[in-house]
Symmetry: C2
Subunit: 550 residues, 2 copies
């Protein structure tokens, strides 16, 4: 067989040759809709490649992007990676210090930025002195004045005189093409370096019918940001199949998305549950329907069952997916099988809200508390590890991490169940699961049960160190105004729902539950509360502080 490497440039060359007139539509940062074709994309990506040659980069050098989803970002995806450099997409929603850390750690040589982020960059200008250029992705008319940033260049000016001809180099398919940092909640962000091979294989895989099901009849809208694990591979996958691509720019509110989908005949889209909540709420409030949208891939976090149901009511087929920065990202998709087709909507729902089953190429294992693979019964749970051609073997320029402790596997940090069909469901994070007497207890399962109690506004379950059992679960709750909750209520709440040894040992009532800025429970802080309360008083004393109505 011919030696034909899988390259990011081969994706663009395919789209240019066989889908030249297919449209790419972008809502620009400046506001108006911009539209052009894959042929235009190819021409301008080559202009970018030619411009990059002049800056004096070496193969493998990182080039940063700080940008929304739009056509210029697409040009960078192909122009940077295609010509042998590494397209380093940076999440502009990170803290300023993290952005500075990431740019320095990646040793970015050039930074491309949307207009929106120029003020952020100006505020951190002293950390950007190593950059050869900061290119603002706009035209001369909108070019900002700034003497704070080094080598400030206007994107359109930079490429204007470049040739639209460029011979994409024949690279090693294992060479790096992209870089993305995890926005881990603890420690410094860690970089994941994608290769041309992993990028192409992942894109082919996600285009398959049981993942995104992309074809040349589709108009695809990447709502998940291009700075977030390559928008789940959609820009590449769309080009591979020749789908029209519709990019929302910075406007992700319900009204803007619905308007864009309707105007551009979007048939398929992908994004996180929060965005869909906004869209569905706005549509219901305004009595709107979809005329073209057929399918939506939901990932980033688990979609609430009601989101699945609401999409179905609108004639849209929702599909849960799962992935991580370390897995390119997609590893699981919850496409039902032939055997499920006869199920009722109610019977399908528990499967549809699972994270999904493995894409071909991705191999998963679930290791229980005894170090062995757990039964594939959809109930037993263990730690999820994965391996495959689009899984990171290590972090970029970092010491070996605990996640790569087991040779050849990446530990996802999730505690999951898997059923006989391969459907995976996350029941907890490894760091949150309660390890009691050699058994694992899912904090999320206990929280979900507590959350349903009429007195409880919000519930958290964390581990409390225990001499005999290692750890025991403790329930921490914030009550609804005027409500009460006793230790007897605790027993009644859980008895019969879970095994006896999983019932929380104790309950602690707090006035206000601690949260992160994005609304997630701050489990670390809750653990501290439990430790403090437990050392200060005996369990009896805790109970005595509760309004005991038993």
């Amino acid at each position: 067989m011919m030696d034909a490497p899988l390259l990011v440039s081969s994706i663009l060359r395919h789209a240019e040759a066989y889908h030249s007139t297919t449209e790419i539509v972008s809502r620009t940062t400046e506001g108006p809709i911009h539209r052009y074709s894959y042929a235009d994309l190819a021409g301008r990506s080559k202009q970018v490649a030619n411009a990059l040659q002049k800056i004096g980069l070496r193969q493998g050098d990182r080039v940063g992007t700080l940008a929304w989803n739009g056509y210029r970002h697409m040009e960078l995806y192909f122009g940077i990676s295609g010509s042998g450099f590494v397209c380093h997409t940076i999440n502009p929603r990170l803290f300023r210090e993290q952005i500075a850390f990431i740019i320095a750690h990646a040793q970015d040589q050039v930074l491309f930025t949307d207009l929106t982020f120029v003020p952020i960059l100006e505020a951190m200008a002293d950390t950007l002195k190593g950059l050869k250029a900061v290119v603002v992705m706009t035209n001369a008319a909108n070019m900002p004045q700034s003497d704070k940033l080094p080598g400030l260049v206007c994107y359109e000016t930079m490429i204007a005189d470049e040739s639209e001809a460029f011979d994409w180099p024949l690279l090693d398919e294992n060479a790096a093409s992209g870089l993305c940092y995890t926005s881990g909640t603890t420690g410094d962000p860690k970089g994941v370096l994608y290769s041309h091979r992993s990028t192409v294989l992942h894109a082919m895989s996600v285009a398959l019918p049981d993942v995104m099901a992309l074809s040349a009849t589709d108009a695809v809208s990447a709502i998940v940001p291009m700075f977030h694990v390559n928008a789940w591979g959609m820009p590449y996958a769309a080009a591979i199949v020749g789908a029209k691509l519709v990019m929302p720019g910075p406007k992700l509110d319900g009204e803007s998305l619905h308007g864009l989908f309707e105007q551009e005949g979007v048939t398929m889209t992908a994004g996180v549950p929060t965005v869909w909540l906004g869209l569905l709420d706005w549509m219901e409030a305004h009595g709107k329907t979809f005329t073209s949208l057929k399918r939506v891939l939901i990932g980033g976090s688990a979609a609430p069952p009601v989101t699945i149901t609401r999409f179905k009511r609108l004639g849209v087929d929702p599909r849960q997916g799962w992935g991580m920065t370390e897995t390119s990202p997609i590893g699981l998709a919850a496409a039902l099988k032939a055997k499920h087709q006869a199920l009722s909507a109610e019977q399908k729902l528990p499967l549809e809200v699972k994270q999904g089953r493995p894409l071909f190429g991705m191999e998963f294992r679930v290791i229980g508390s005894d170090g062995r693979s757990v039964p594939r019964d959809g109930k037993s749970f263990g730690a999820l590890s994965v391996r495959g051609p689009w899984v990171a073997a290590r972090y970029f320029n970092s010491d070996p991490s605990a996640a790569h402790e087991v040779e050849g596997w990446f530990n996802t940090g999730d505690i999951v169940t898997m059923d006989d069909d391969g459907f995976v469901q996350i029941v907890d994070r490894t760091k949150d699961v309660v390890k009691s007497g050699g058994e694992w207890i899912s904090s999320i399962e206990l929280e979900n049960i507590a959350q349903a109690h009429p007195s409880i506004k919000e519930a958290a379950v964390v581990a409390r160190p225990d001499e005999r059992w290692g750890e025991r679960p403790v329930l921490v709750v914030q009550l609804k105004p005027g409500a009460s909750f006793s230790k007897q209520d605790l027993k009644e709440l859980y008895t019969g729902k879970i095994s006896k040894w999983s019932i929380p040992e104790d309950v602690i009532i707090v006035a206000e539950m601690p949260h992160t800025a994005t609304g997630k429970l701050l489990k670390r802080e809750i653990r501290e509360i439990v430790l403090r309360e437990s050392s200060e008083r005996s369990p009896d004393k805790v109970v005595s502080q509760i309004t005991d109505q038993s």
Copy 2:
């Protein structure tokens, strides 16, 4: 990224792990329906692998198969390739001498055969002395008595005591996994060696929505034989997506196929136009419909437009595909794009009967008579070359061929047009096109026009050497009983339909058109007729022999 090779065994491991209960249904050579699961397939493939270890083969050794589509053939696909040997599928429809040539040329060490073909092998037993074993794919009860064949073994007996555990070796993905010989009409058959990488990439590609659109909700029936370019990759692609697989065995008549499709709920199938003609005829004669079939891929030769229309009338979406043994095979598929959706059925048909547009990874070029790429206008034509990760770089153990003359490209031998969307249409074979004064004239186009004339039963156009023009087209016809055709008729027939210089120079009437055994025009013989006739008499004389009614 992790170093994870693309292996045939990884396909089976995926199906075993995540689609263990999905069915594989086979109509056996013996008659009855056999059904089991991907888990069973995996277990028995490992038994095959263990049995092969004992025969004493070296990695890369070829193992031949002479078999219909069925579960044991699937076990060989995975058992042979997965364990590092080369699965060499042999076309039993070839002449005995060709089969003997192929087995010898491939240096097959072991031969697996269906019961059906034992008599054929017995008749050529003296050429099979080099084989370590001939394994008959049946059970002990049906095992034939034969003292003519070397090392005759019963398949079920051979694997019965083998373990269902086997660690598939971690092979180089560029190692050979399969071998298939072209059934070329001239010269000896030529072998194409597939690699693990090419096999996996091709299978992922054909599962995409714009080719076969395979998913875990499908029941897929491979009608194209597994001895013919791996049944177009369907056995691999079905396992990748976890589709139910339905295999017809030797019975390909309309009644058998319709019965099997209905009984097993087949949703997608693929095969050659002749088979579909038989199926459609039988169904229309018996007033039958499909209750589950949704899609059909048609390849091997161009589907007549009426076949497309008849399938659509039955609620089935037909799709033309194109490929060759040298291209694994699929390189083109005629899936329409979004821009075509508003067309009427009549407007769609001319696109749907084309060979299709390039799959991602396959790069095509069309070189005209002047050595340059022809315009992509769907009219200009030239010689079609292709390159990509599942295109043969050379023939197995053969001298460099003319088809690989141009470095890095494979010349398909087809003369085609390509339009702006990449749709390719074959207008002729390179060896049949008439090269006149630096221009190429499609013999097929001239034949199609002649074929529509009421007096003509069958028409052929071949080149006649010409001192001034190099070659000139000559029409050779067999007339309908009692009909006549003059040189004046010739002029009237073509004038206005094609450019003046393309009009055949001459017409020769023959009593009977020469055909191959399979009904194809024997152009070589027709060329000889033209040479003979032309040397024996002047053009005027030819005309004088025609009943001239002008």
